[in-house]
Amino acid sequence: MTETGKTANELAPGEEFEPAAFHVTQEFNENYLHAVEDFHPRYMQGAAGGPPIVHPALLINYSNITRSPSFRLPPGMAAVHTHEEVEYLAPAGVGGKLTVTWKVIGVYEKRGKPYQVVDALIAGENGAPVLRRKTTNAFVAIPGGA
């Protein structure tokens, strides 16, 4: 449940999921490098005296709405990620803390299925934006679900 007591599929435009913060260590980042088989030095050693940068796939995965502490669905329902718009704004350095905020910006129905569009923003410790996404999820009934 969210702070409003609603499940994710009940949130209306303007309502927000609870923000999440996470700290990206070198080990955490390397975990993702192995997952996506991308070992470019920019993610391991950094460049021009700066720290290594956080792999974009980690940023995407940790800004999915399912990462919000308030994300809940009713029994018998699943969220399916169907569409995505992402804008990379600035690289994030390994070692920093990142905060994600999510706000519902649209809901609609298509072929009998409810869809929800969420604006997600990742910001660094100084509040500087790192990545903005507009993700669309369909809420579907699980066959045989409660």
Binding site: Y32, V36, I60, H81, H83, E85, P91, I142
Partner: protein, 144 residues
């Protein structure tokens, strides 16, 4: 170093590195962090029984995983600068199961000279080992 240059023509095609979505890599991606007790977290990406209860035939890779492959391809095309203003719009059209092999592909669809540089529009997709597209979309970036 970017692959695209200001004189790269519309129609130019480029493919990324072939990737295999193994069971272990999917655990690393979707199993949560840190990998202590209870790892990997149970979800449709990490646990076959959980996935079947959700109506899937088995574990399915997270779309964010192959979105990561396309991001790698875009950085190859535009250089690391793409992480400052680069955009992608994607539609996930097919699930990806364990041990599928994916390759990310691109084709320059448009280019325009702007104040900030040459703006390229790129068609993007990932194909599995059967040549089926699993995600399709477009990306935008600049060569300055």
């Amino acid at each position: 170093m970017a692959i695209l240059r200001k004189d790269t023509p519309i129609g130019f095609e480029f493919r990324g590195t072939m990737k295999t979505v193994t069971s272990f890599r999917t655990w690393l991606f979707s199993g949560g962090w840190p990998p202590f007790d209870g790892w990997p977290a149970r979800n449709v990406h990490t646990d076959a029984e959980f996935a079947k209860r959700c109506g899937l035939p088995g574990r399915a890779a997270s779309g964010a995983m192959f979105q990561g492959y396309l991001t790698e391809l875009m950085i190859s095309l535009f250089g690391e600068e793409w992480l400052q203003g680069g955009r992608m719009e994607l539609k996930f059209i097919q699930i990806v199961r364990m041990n599928e092999t994916l390759v990310s592909k691109s084709r320059v669809g448009s280019k325009e000279q702007e104040e900030a540089g040459t703006r390229f529009g790129v068609d993007l997709w990932c194909e599995n080992q059967h040549g089926e597209k699993v995600v399709v979309g477009t990306g935008t970036g600049w060569i300055r």
